[in-house]
């Protein structure tokens, strides 16, 4: 029941905000923050419940005649992602506290509705329900980006929308096909059906699933919507996209692609990994000379998800566990980094590295937060990024030494562009743009401090996260053996 509350709280909050259209911006902010914090509290309670009974499920008939159910369930993987979502949404809301958006209540309603869809995706056990939430998540973010975004936002986000919907059509076809083969919509039961299918069929299913998820993440060569969409969207939407929506794609690889096309995975994994690792290198190189910091972090996100995809496709425990912890790490770090970009932009009016410099002289606190989050994303040991990258690279190396070694270049290239970002923005002499830079305070600290602490906590005690997901990860791997 508690699980249903996780969906209902933001849903009711979102609808209420829609109805309360006229309320002031600050009231809307506070309502949203309250609702999202309550939802986070709900997430923690669910975690407690999970500890007592590790298999939580709820099931209602949806289209009974077709055996399609409103079926939600939580294993360690789902739980971790639900916790991530409910943890990040309040921070994303808080990150807007120093800004006033037009039609604020609608703006915040859309954020909450996105949260509903995300929680739905991460908990759905019925494949149609999964599909429904997977598609639904995009709609509010699309409006957030298109309506409140930069001057090119409308066309850029429309492209994103069409692109991802295009991918989803393949997903839909594959789902319907599998459903008709198995006469069930339960993902776990479908895995049994899928296993018995001939290799060619599984191959086709593999590509159908892959295209859908690859676009969402995105991985090479399906990424061309991403840099523009990330940089044109208003920061909260960018945070949702890079932190959480991209994780739906990664999650899809784990929850749908691996168990529902196992032979397809073993046939095409190496080929696909080569692409995602090529994307990792490509995205990193793109970031190296990038002067628009928002774009720079967008490219870095693109690189990071490529590594996760490759890790999942190895089909070994190290790769999968690495991907799972890296999903969390990347989400947290991306939200932190995009927020810092926003802070810089709000204070200086520019995102151009060439115009910045010397910020650190005025901002001891921001410098510390920035440095720690940055170290997380360059995978320094004892930060969250290390555990993920270490396990991912180990998994990939075990799968194929060459791919592992090439993917390993990420630890060099990541340092190149991230330290350049640090040097050009924070270090050096300050100039007229940055001379009066004010250090972070209040709501900004309330966002950055938890993120910084999580970066360190995950790096020092990763076993808390790894042990949460290992049984579920092992179950998925057993399915495909």
């Amino acid at each position: 029941m508690l699980m249903l509350l996780l969906l209902l709280l933001p849903l009711i909050g979102g609808i209420a905000l829609f109805l309360l259209k006229g309320i002031s911006s600050s009231l809307a902010k506070n309502i949203t923050l309250g609702v999202s914090l309550l939802t986070f509290l709900g997430g923690l309670l669910v975690y407690r419940q999970y500890q007592a009974t590790p298999s939580l499920e709820i099931k209602y008939g949806w289209i009974p005649s077709l055996a399609i159910n409103f079926h939600l369930g939580l294993d360690g993987i789902s739980l971790l992602l639900v916790l991530l979502t409910t943890f990040l949404v309040p921070l994303i809301v808080l990150s807007t506290f120093r800004q006033t958006y037009a039609n604020a209540s609608v703006f915040y309603a859309l954020i909450l509705l996105t949260e509903v869809a995300l929680i739905g995706v991460f908990t759905a056990k019925d494949i149609f329900l999964f599909y429904f939430f997977f598609e639904a998540a995009l709609v509010p973010v699309y409006f957030l980006a298109a309506v409140w975004g930069g001057k090119n936002a409308a066309s850029v986000t429309f492209k994103m929308f069409v692109y991802t919907i295009f991918g989803s059509l393949f997903l839909l076809v594959a789902i319907i096909y599998l459903y008709m083969q198995g006469q069930t919509a339960n993902i776990q039961e479908l895995a049994v059906t899928a296993k018995a299918l001939p290799t060619t069929t599984q191959g086709l299913l593999f590509w159908a699933f892959l295209v859908a998820f690859a676009i969402k993440m995105p991985i090479l060569p399906f990424h061309s919507w991403q840099p523009a969409a990330y940089s044109e969207s208003p920061t909260p939407a960018t945070m949702l996209l890079s932190g959480l929506l991209s994780k739906m794609g990664v999650y899809g690889l784990i929850r749908i692609l691996l168990p529902l096309a196992p032979l397809g995975v073993s046939t095409y994994a190496t080929f696909t990994m080569a692409f995602s690792i090529a994307g990792l290198i490509y995205g990193s190189v793109l970031a190296i000379q990038q002067n628009n910091i928002k774009r720079l972090i967008a490219y870095s996100s693109f690189a990071h998800v490529g590594l996760m995809a490759a890790g999942i496709l190895t089909g070994n425990l190290s790769g999968l566990q690495g991907a799972l912890i890296q999903m969390i790490a990347h989400a947290v770090n991306a939200v932190g980094l995009f927020f810092i970009v926003k802070i810089i932009y709000d204070r200086t009016g520019t995102r151009d590295l060439a115009a910045l410099g010397g910020i650190t002289q005025k901002t001891p606190a921001l410098s510390i937060y920035f440095m720690v989050i940055l170290l997380g994303s360059v995978a320094l040991p004892l930060t969250n990024g290390f555990v993920g990258e270490f396990l991912l690279l180990k998994g990939i190396y075990d799968y194929n030494a060459w791919l592992g070694a090439i993917a390993g270049l990420t630890i060099i290239l990541g340092a190149v562009y991230m330290l350049r970002l640090m040097q050009r923005s924070m270090f050096g002499e300050s100039n007229e743009v940055t001379a009066k830079f004010e250090d972070v305070k209040g709501s900004e600290v309330a966002v950055l401090l938890p993120i910084t602490l999580i970066v360190l906590a995950m790096g020092i005690f990763p076993n808390f996260f790894l042990q949460l997901t290992e049984p579920a990860a092992q179950t998925i791997l057993d399915l495909i053996k």
Binding site: L286, Q321, L380, F427
Partner: protein, 650 residues
């Protein structure tokens, strides 16, 4: 007592947190004592750990804190191991570290980042302690990357200066190249041994045959890591640039401790290296090449810190020669003595720079002998020690390396000897130009020249004393005096002795050994005399930059290695980045997508005669439709319909 030992690295961590978070809030008078106190507590912890180790009969003490990363059957504990090797490193790190903390109180006293500096120094100690205390390769890697971070932070300490920032970045990135090698080595260790814990790995390795291909690969990749951290060809160019950092940093991190991590790693893994003679041979030659290349550059540098930096690269080369000829203890011996005299030389250089109002060019110094007596005398002691004149510390360790090298390969020995000739020459050139002759600085500088405060001279005196007596840790066999270091370190070579019964035996007779000693001393003396005849008393001062001609110019410009690296690696990547952004993205991937879109439109126009041609709007409407259909429970009809179609088609 074990709990106290496990706290050892955390004293500096706490110091870091206090000084770091309290930066600009803690009164300046407290900052230094907190930083020094943290280092001192770590030193006391080391003494305690030493006693504990002796009480334990020399058996390694393992202290497990918690399970850090567990995946399937692989468990990586966060655990420490105190044994003979780690305890020696601990003494060097905390001992020299504490002295340099004391020195920094004077040297950095006028810097606005005083508190930050102490915080970073403490953080460095923490990382370095993890590096040597870990009981497995991953904890070593944690320290390994941690010291890299501190090195980055401290090289770029004055980050307002863009060039310093670049130097810091270069250090971090070049080290990361090495770290990738280290990481691959770790992956191979896990694949082959199923564990990363030293005890497990070495025990399994001890039953392998010499030349085992997996072990050869592991040792090779580990050495790539060592190349980065310990500045060997081809990954050495970051170290001279690292001199951008404050001088105490150069002494502590870039001379005495961090840069010797690579040697520590190999001595730690000695079983594996003994199993891989091919890798050892490679290491020895890299060491020779680095020692010679760096020494030759050092002969023509005019920045006091640059000379010492190239000297460090060169001396690290000697340590690797020692390791490469399987004389692990000799290589490690040189780590210890080098820590003493090179820290001394750097701190002395700092004192000179301090006296010269931040001047670093030795052409603008001269005649400082009488003006800063303590600095000058201690600097001379360091210079003698590094040149290999008995009975100073450097003589013993270097001589031991040379003797083993002679037994291994005569050509290698001869080349190493050339290197030690150059060493004695450039060091005395540095000494004579700086301290003898007449003063060549400005009047203002001359007026300002003064001896440094006691907080700076005291560490100099202590280190000078160690540079004199440090070599007595290991007397040559022919002298019939004990080799304390050999005896002490013996337990850590258990595995090496198992896989190679010949391990640790030096096959040269006593008369040859005496002769070798005589030759190396003679070479050093000749080099010193040569330097004296050319530079003593200000007879010659190195010429101005634009008068350097011919081959000298090539050497002075460090053989243009940086420029070559830029051409080969840095510029192509930058160009690729711009090309990807400007061409491949818009005209490649994006065009592809648009092309597909346009193609679909075209086809649909022809086939279905869609008039408005806006496929995008079409898909958009459709998607919304799907969502609504599924959401509002009308999916039934559609699915039923599809179902009927497929059953019909069957």
């Amino acid at each position: 007592m074990q709990s106290f030992i496990s706290l050892l690295p955390f004293f500096p961590l706490i110091g870091f947190l206090i000084n770091g978070l309290g930066f600009r809030k803690i009164p300046k008078g407290l900052v230094g004592p907190i930083g020094i106190g943290a280092a001192l507590l770590a030193f006391i912890g080391t003494v305690v750990a030493y006693n504990e180790l002796q009480a334990n009969g020399g058996q390694p003490i393992i202290i497990s804190l918690f399970d850090w990363i567990t995946v399937g059957s692989l468990n990586i504990p966060f655990a420490f191991q105190i044994d003979q090797l780690s305890i020696l490193m601990l003494f060097v790190i905390t001992g020299v570290g504490t002295l340099i903390h004391v020195y920094s109180m004077g040297y950095m006293s006028h810097d606005e980042g005083y508190g930050k500096f102490f915080a970073f120094l403490n953080l460095f100690l923490f990382s370095m302690l993890l590096l040597v205390m870990g009981n497995n390769y991953i904890v070593m890697f944690v320290g390994w990357e941690g010291v890299g971070l501190c090195s980055y932070l401290l090289i770029g300490f004055w980050n307002k200066n863009f060039n310093y920032g670049n130097a810091a970045r270069k250090a971090f990135i070049m080290n990361r190249v090495g770290d990738l090698g280290f990481l691959i080595g770790i992956f191979l260790v896990i694949q082959n041994f199923g564990s990363v814990v030293y005890g497990d790995v070495f025990q399994k390795a001890a039953s392998l045959e010499v030349g085992n291909s997996a072990v050869v690969a592991i040792t090779f990749f580990f050495f790539i890591g060592a190349m980065g951290k310990s500045a060997q060809i081809p990954l050495y160019t970051w170290l001279p640039d690292a001199m951008a950092g404050p001088t105490p940093v150069s002494a502590l991190i870039h001379a005495a401790t961090m840069v010797t991590s690579g040697i520590y790693m190999i001595v730690r893994s000695n079983v594996l290296y003994t199993l891989a003679p091919g890798t050892l041979e490679f290491i020895a030659w890299i060491g020779v090449a680095t020692a010679l290349l760096a020494a030759s550059i050092g002969m023509f540098q005019n920045d006091i810190k640059k000379v010492l930096a190239y000297s460090t690269v060169s001396q690290l080369g000697y340590m690797f020669i020692g390791l490469g000829v399987m004389a692990y203890t000799s290589g490690f011996f040189h780590v210890i003595t080098h820590a003493f005299f090179k820290a001394l030389l750097f701190l002395g250089a700092g004192s000179v720079i301090h006296a010269m109002s931040d001047e670093q060019d030795i052409r603008k110094m001269g005649g400082l002998w009488g003006k800063i007596k303590i600095t000058a005398i201690t600097f001379l002691i360091g210079t003698i020690a590094i040149s290999g004149i008995p009975p100073f510390a450097g003589f013993f360790s270097k001589d031991e390396i040379l003797a083993h090298t002679f037994a291994h390969n005569k050509l290698m020995w001869a080349l190493a000897l050339v290197g030690s000739f150059m060493t004695a020459f450039y060091m005395f050139r540095l000494f004579f130009v700086t301290f003898t002759g007449s003063f060549r600085g400005t009047h203002e500088q001359e007026h300002h020249v003064h001896e440094s405060p006691a907080s700076m001279t005291l560490p100099l005196i202590v280190l000078a004393a160690l540079s004199v007596v440090g070599g007595f840790l290991g007397f040559p066999e022919v002298m019939h005096l004990p080799h304390t270091l050999n005896d002490f370190l013996s337990p850590i070579y258990e595995g090496s002795r198992t896989v190679n019964p010949e391990f640790g035996k030096l096959h040269i007779d006593h008369s040859t050994e005496w002769l070798l000693m005589g030759v190396s001393v003679a070479v050093a003396v000749v080099a010193i005399l040569l330097a004296r005849s050319k530079f003593a008393g200000g007879k010659n001062v190195p010429v101005a930059d634009d008068e350097i001609m011919g081959f000298q110019q090539v050497v002075y410009n460090k053989y243009f290695v940086d420029e070559i690296y830029n051409k080969l690696f840095v510029n192509p990547i930058k160009q690729a980045s711009v090309f990807f952004e400007k061409v491949l993205e818009p005209k490649g991937f994006d065009a592809l997508v648009n092309g597909v879109g346009a193609g679909v439109v075209l086809i649909s126009e022809r086939v279905r005669r869609v008039q408005d041609g806006k496929i995008t709007a079409y898909v958009f409407a459709m998607a919304i439709g799907i969502i609504i259909i599924l959401g509002v429970n009308f999916g039934y009809d559609i699915i039923e319909l599809l179902k009927r179609i497929t059953t019909a088609s069957k």
